[in-house]
């Protein structure tokens, strides 16, 4: 596959190129792929590997000529969840970073728009982290609110 040839590593996985990179290599790799036909940045996704103690960020890119999907994967430490922002390469990355910041709490250095995105007034831990106990949260947050007393058909 073209992206594997370009970057000199990676493997083919279910017809797509899966390339494992370190955090320092990612910027140059995206640049290199962008110059060589991978001009569609599809999305940025995040996986929380709780037992391995790391977050995996996956940069998905697409090449229209070759019809090739490249996945650039980066691991970052769960306790030191800081990543360099890539929004200067593709402007749409800013929004993906904003969402991941809200849902996983990862800080992207260089992205000035990490403001609340989908959640309003959210003071708790980021909800998509694996150690966020959502059942317990529901119990404390929603189930503790009382029903309004009185008969249903009751008027003034």
């Amino acid at each position: 596959m073209k992206s594997i040839e370009l970057l000199g590593k990676g493997e083919e996985m279910h017809g797509r190129a899966y390339i494992k990179l370190s955090a320092d290599e990612i910027e140059e790799s995206i640049k290199k792929l962008k110059e060589n036909g991978f001009n569609h940045f599809v999305m940025l996704s995040c996986v929380d590997w709780l037992d391995k103690g790391k977050f995996e960020l996956v940069y998905h890119m697409w090449n229209y000529e070759e019809k090739e999907h490249a996945m650039l994967s980066v691991d970052i430490d769960r306790n030191n969840d800081v990543m360099k922002s890539m929004s200067h390469l593709f402007p749409q990355i800013e929004t993906y970073e904003r969402e991941i910041h809200e849902m996983y709490g990862i800080k992207f250095e260089g992205n000035n728009r990490l403001t609340p995105f989908l959640l309003e007034n959210w003071p708790h831990d980021p909800p998509m982290r694996k150690d966020f106990d959502s059942k317990k949260f529901v119990k404390q947050m929603y189930e503790s609110i009382p029903f309004i007393e009185g008969d249903e058909n009751e008027g003034i």
């Binding site: 959502s134 529901v138 503790s144 009751e154």
Partner: protein, 197 residues
């Protein structure tokens, strides 16, 4: 005109009975399309099920509507808008809630950002069970609501006035994502642990 208080009350009762009889046949609804229930509305409105034969018509603005339809799950963010819409409507006003999500959370029972019981925040006159209810169910609910209006039993809006403070308190708690003291303590313990590391 020399009428006693009791007579006035009786007249009011009689007139409101008449008004209810008339208004139940012209329910205008504002459908707040959240969740999956919105997709069940077009067949109900259009010629297949044709809700207009019962005098039910869609209305674009809440100020001119009688019925508020909550069609499915609500996130806390949407609930804020629903309450704004509900408070803009003029009395008498009725709320119909669709599907299991508004009853007890449905398939989102453990979700972190959808509310579980709608009636904790606004009064609900009628629930339609199902995930999602079929158009027949919706038509049936409207007929049931008409019956309740005729009998004077659909009085959710009066409940909202009567227990206004309690509804507001519940809304405030859910909007501010307030949690109990336990969790605050837990958070502090976690922070201390992190600092030790």
């Amino acid at each position: 005109m020399g009428l006693h208080n009791g007579d006035k009350m009786m007249r009011y009762e009689e007139w409101s009975k008449l008004a209810r009889k008339a208004s139940k046949r012209s329910l205008w609804m504002v459908h707040f399309c959240t969740g999956c229930g919105a997709i069940e509305m077009p067949p109900v409105m259009t010629s297949r099920y044709d809700m207009e034969r019962f005098g039910i018509a869609p209305m674009a603005t809440p100020r001119q509507a009688d019925v508020l339809l909550i069609t499915g799950y609500l996130t806390v963010k949407t609930l804020r808008r629903v309450i704004q819409v509900y408070e803009q409507m003029q009395s008498p006003k009725y709320v119909i809630a669709f599907g299991s999500c508004t009853i007890n959370g449905g398939m989102y029972w453990d979700s972190y950002n959808t509310i579980k019981h709608l009636e904790k925040y606004i009064p609900v006159d009628l629930y339609i069970a199902g995930c999602m209810p079929r158009p027949e169910g919706i038509i049936n609910a409207f007929l049931e609501l008409m019956k309740l209006i005729d009998e004077g039993k659909a009085r959710g809006w009066e409940r909202y006035q009567k227990y206004y403070d309690k509804y507001k308190e519940n809304q405030r708690r859910v909007f501010n994502f307030e949690v109990k003291e336990e969790e605050k303590e837990e958070k502090e313990q976690k922070r201390e642990k992190n600092e030790e590391h």
